[in-house]
Symmetry: C2
DNA sequence: CGAGATATATTCTGAATCGAGCATTCGAAC
DNA sequence: GTTCGAATGCTCGATTCAGAATATATCTCG
């Protein structure tokens, strides 16, 4: 059995669901939505069906039956195999034990931030700040609701985590915006200069950028 | 010109590099590595060449020349177009202004954590904690080095961000591990029960899991 | 001076992804 | 009674990705 690449966490979600009981793919997707797991695992129909096929091919799940109701398309109900149960535990163990390298979009944006001018950046960061505040509020109220309905904390850990991370980002964004705005951010004058000259002829000049960058091009070690 | 989907930030990296000066793809990849941008943008050769092709197809960059040195494969040098420059700024603006929905692997893992028993989880979280501590230390020393070499803060913002986030995760993981270990985590007894019975017959029983879950299956709103 | 490691530079291929589309059924409102 | 929209359930194809494969040049070290 060629070992599967553990790229798409949706496959883990499928294994976790089938652990509970056999289901057909559409039911999986609806269950994930009901339980709000589609907030923590990227879910879309196309991927779901190919992930299921791949799991079947690798013997981690198997068709339990195919049924049809009326004239609807035939549904295939799948169940987890022993190999699948083992794989789920192994994969989950690995995910908890070992931090994976992630590439958040905002980190990429920060990498290329000098392309924008400091004043624009402050404006944009303030807007981001507002979004993040709303996001925190939403997550918190979701958590309060869940507690109010008696859902044990173990079933909404992912939201606790998310709110922790979003709060941290919010702190970062706020501090950054403030320090650029009040001029305490180191090198902001140099950065502003570059863009002030740029704005006279439309946009940041490649040569000026290159010149400004030149001293820093060698790797920092 | 059909509008490109802004999925792969590597495309933004290409635009940012070509903003400075024309380059061929291999040079782009080497430059990204030198500047440690490969830590914030997923970089691999296969993707780079297809991203470049796609940018050409959409008129955001164009071939400036093709040259060959000795008997090496011909290199195609690309430059940015006006449309590309505009796109870079627009895209970057958008990334800074609007938080993107991300799906970190750890969040997925937390979603399915009940599959593991509380004692296993504590053990794994302690291991993760150690990794994260090492990661924080590495990032911090990198930042110290960069400052020591006179690199302005604007060029290593992405590391500042990363260390902020990793520290937040570390706090979360530490607190979670501790609260499960000392029993203060809400519902840990129920969770432990489920797995104690499970361990007598090898693994978590589907029916017992389903039964335990039953009261919580309806959506929390 | 020859062998192997490393750097240069791209291409290929199979797999994964994702959004859109298709086809049916059911319920509610008009 | 019929139309319209939501729900059910899956398929398809275009794009994108990752990583291996390819091919040559240059460096290094005994």
């Amino acid at each position: 059995m060629a070992s599967r690449s553990r790229t798409n966490p949706l496959a883990l979600a499928v294994l976790a669901l089938l652990w509970e009981r056999p289901m057909h793919p559409y039911e999986m997707s609806m269950t994930l939505r009901e339980r709000r797991k589609d907030e923590s695992v990227r879910l879309n129909f196309g991927s779901l069906y190919s992930v299921v096929d791949s799991l079947v091919k690798h013997g981690l799940i198997e068709a339990a039956s195919t049924e049809r109701e009326g004239n609807r398309p035939t549904r295939t109900v799948y169940r987890i195999t022993d190999a699948g149960a083992t794989e789920a535990i192994d994969w989950l163990t690995d995910l908890v034990r070992t931090p994976a390298k992630e590439f958040p979009q905002f980190e990429a944006a920060l990498s290329f931030l000098p392309l924008l001018g400091p004043d624009d950046v402050v404006r944009l960061l303030r807007l981001r700040q507002t979004s993040l505040e709303r996001q925190v509020a939403g997550l918190e109220s979701g958590l309060v609701d869940a507690r109010a309905m008696g859902l044990p904390a173990i079933f909404s850990l992912e939201s606790e985590y998310e709110v922790t991370i979003v709060r941290a980002e919010l702190g970062f964004v706020t501090a950054l915006a403030t320090s650029i705005a009040d001029g305490s951010f180191e090198g902001v004058d140099l950065w502003r200069d570059l863009h002030r000259r740029a704005s006279t002829h439309g946009r940041l000049d490649p040569d000026e950028l290159a010149e400004a960058l030149a001293p820093y091009l060698s790797p920092p070690q």
